[in-house]
């Protein structure tokens, strides 16, 4: 797969079809496969791909608006591209999509921190992640460390592409059992979990910055006129920040999970974003990012909309 990706990237750059290739390269941290912008044929050799490549690359597209860009894209990446097109942020004909069928990405930070020892080498063999530390070899199940969105992913294959690398995979599907489990808890317990998660936040905004949908030049949380959220760590403000962000994601979030995967404090965010996604699907039969021609969920008005959720 990596060989094919490099081949395609090299050809695109050589023939001048694109200016840059947005992909991944091996990082310096164990279990890290980080975003990489290849601009020359030599740099193509650094491109790799594995389930440790957690960042949704669509996040970078708006900054390359003046370039022709090739992008490595999984199902969720193409959904993000669709939302960005439908919201007028990027143009499809400037993007060359190298499609990658995806088996899910790993909660790399959580796994790395759970090991608690120096990791020397990591490989994936027969559904297991084999981690060699300074003292032993640990094996963990691939499925156990899957990002929750990937575990129940309905769209693992790119929705569109200019070239596809590898064979399409079978969607896992499975709905939103995690959201349903959360909803089954009583109100106090739900609130307790919510507050405990939000209290870990240090306001570094890695969630916002990594999100392909958070492209606002001026985020509401930074606004001082009017002031929506106060600075500091008062829980009202911390919680408001996350709740408002999640609501801004309604009908836009493509459930890639990047926000949660990159959080340095391990704050759980997907139980909120996935709840919104589940409600939209259940109540409005709406799934974000499937059609770039359709207006965004909150940008559409229909005369036959019953609006019965209000009444």
């Amino acid at each position: 797969m990596v060989k094919k990706i490099r081949e395609i990237a090299r050809k695109l750059l050589e023939e001048g079809k694109v200016d840059v290739v947005l992909g991944y390269e091996k990082g310096t941290e164990p279990l890290s496969e980080r975003p990489f912008v290849a601009r020359t044929v030599e740099e193509v050799e650094r491109l790799t791909y594995s389930p440790f490549a957690i960042q949704n690359l669509a996040t970078y597209l708006p900054r390359f608006n003046n370039n022709k860009v090739a992008i490595l894209a999984r199902g969720c990446t193409t959904r993000a591209i669709n939302v960005l097109i439908s919201e007028g942020q990027i143009e499809r004909d400037k993007i060359y999509v190298i499609g990658i069928p995806c088996n899910g990405v790993i909660k790399t930070r959580e796994l790395r921190e759970s090991i608690g020892e120096e990791i020397e080498d990591v490989s994936i063999q027969n559904g297991e992640i084999v981690i060699k530390t300074t003292t032993e070899e640990k094996k963990v199940k691939f499925e156990d460390w899957l990002n929750i969105s990937c575990k129940y992913c309905e769209y693992p294959n790119p929705l569109f592409y200019d070239v596809l690398v590898g064979e399409e995979v079978k969607p896992r599907g499975g709905g939103y059992p995690d959201v349903e489990d959360y909803e089954k808890l009583d109100e106090d317990k739900r609130w307790e979990i919510f507050e405990a998660e939000m209290s870990k936040c240090v306001r570094c905004y890695a969630c916002r910055q990594s999100c392909p949908m958070c492209y606002c030049e001026h985020c509401f949380v930074d606004s001082t006129e009017p002031r929506w959220v106060e600075p500091g760590f008062d829980k009202t403000d911390l919680e408001s920040w996350h709740l408002i962000r999640v609501l801004h994601m309604a009908g836009r979030c493509v459930d890639c999970g990047t926000c949660e995967l990159v959080c340095p404090e391990g704050v759980k965010l997907l139980f909120l974003t996935r709840k919104v996604a589940r409600d939209l699907k259940r109540d409005f039969d709406y799934v974000s990012g499937l059609n770039p021609e359709k207006p965004p969920f909150f940008g559409e008005f229909r005369y036959d909309d019953k609006g019965d959720f209000i009444l």
């Binding site: 310096t28 916002r208 990159v262």
Partner: protein, 335 residues
């Protein structure tokens, strides 16, 4: 050097306790210890550095209350008093770098000072530098005692320690402990050599001068190309200290709040007019690197980085400061 067996740490714990809070290393942050056993932390690198004690994420500077036409103000100073036990040399050095900025001249900061002058640093040699550590790059190492008040090393099941500053020496003087044994000191020397050599040293000679000539370099585009522009690197950095001051307004009352800020944020240099002298990520990156490896050395003859590797670990996209320093070093300078 003095000695106390690890099984008898309560002998020094009480003395430390009499000084105030005793902070110890926990996985996520430094926390106050309730029992002497907690001094025996096995955490080698605390995720949130000890700077959180001197420069908390948020701190009110003053409060104001409105009553009709009258507004009353109340100064707020959060003090701290105690000992940070087990702070490693890199973090102690980082605090010495913060001191340069907050304790002298026009920049003297009473809020920082009130905490800093009442907190002793009981350093411990770092016995487990990890793959991200590059402290020896900056002219010190895992056994450097000079940035602490008291410095110790755990050798087998004994803690060896000595007072470094006057304050530290005073505290040690009053303890009921015996002198270190000859063979323990010998072992310490061997450990020091072996562990210090384990740290991967970078050759950054000439980087300060090189950077001075790179304001217009194309390297900033390359360096910033995968950066997301979050503040994780700066928040967890033990030497980053930038802050913002805003008023938090509630009905009829409020408070002036100092919070962390990050040079990686768009808002950091956004001016009231709407102009931003650092409009793109590459300029913000340039500032961050320049601040640590050019401006700080120019001002204080010290690099603004201690080589702890936290930024490498917390970065969502694994941007590695070591690679960047090497890129800067290898970048040809245009005539």
């Amino acid at each position: 050097m003095k000695r106390v067996p690890l099984s008898e740490l309560e002998r020094i714990y009480e003395a430390l306790k009499s000084y105030g809070s005793v902070w110890v290393r926990k996985k996520n942050a430094y926390e106050t210890a309730e029992t002497p056993e907690e001094l025996l932390s096995t955490v080698s690198k605390v995720k949130k550095p000890a700077k959180f004690i001197f420069l908390p994420e948020e701190e009110p500077l003053l409060a104001f209350v409105q009553d009709g036409k009258n507004v009353t103000f109340q100064e707020v100073i959060r003090e701290a008093k105690g000992v940070i036990f087990g702070i490693p040399p890199c973090e102690a050095k980082a605090i010495s770098l913060l001191d340069l900025n907050f304790l002298q001249g026009e920049g003297e900061d009473i809020y920082y000072k009130k905490r800093r002058e009442n907190v002793l640093l009981f350093g411990l040699a770092c016995l487990a530098p990890d793959s991200r550590c590059f402290c020896t790059t900056f002219g010190y190492g895992p056994f450097t005692e000079s940035f602490t008040d008291i410095f110790g090393v755990v050798v087998d099941d004994v803690l060896l320690f000595e007072g470094i500053t006057e304050k530290g020496k005073d505290l040690v003087k009053n303890l009921d402990v015996e002198d270190a044994k000859g063979e323990e000191l010998k072992k310490l020397e061997a450990m020091k050599k072996e562990i210090t050599e384990r740290v991967k040293k970078l050759d950054i000679q000439g980087i300060q001068e090189k950077l001075a000539r790179m304001m217009d370099s194309e390297i900033w585009d390359k360096i910033s190309s995968s950066c997301l522009g979050c503040g994780a690197c700066t928040y967890y950095c033990p030497t980053c200290y930038c802050f913002d001051i805003q008023d938090v307004e509630r009905p009829n009352w409020g408070y002036r709040l100092r919070t962390w800020d990050s040079c990686m944020f768009t808002l950091y240099t956004l001016e009231g007019s709407g102009h931003n002298p650092r409009p793109e990520l590459k300029y913000r990156w340039r500032n961050r690197l320049m601040h640590k490896f050019n401006y700080y050395p120019v001002l204080y003859q010290e690099f603004g980085c201690v080589g702890c590797g936290r930024c490498i670990e917390v970065c969502p996209v694994n941007i590695d400061i070591r690679e960047i320093l090497m890129e800067v070093k290898n970048e040809p300078i245009r005539a």
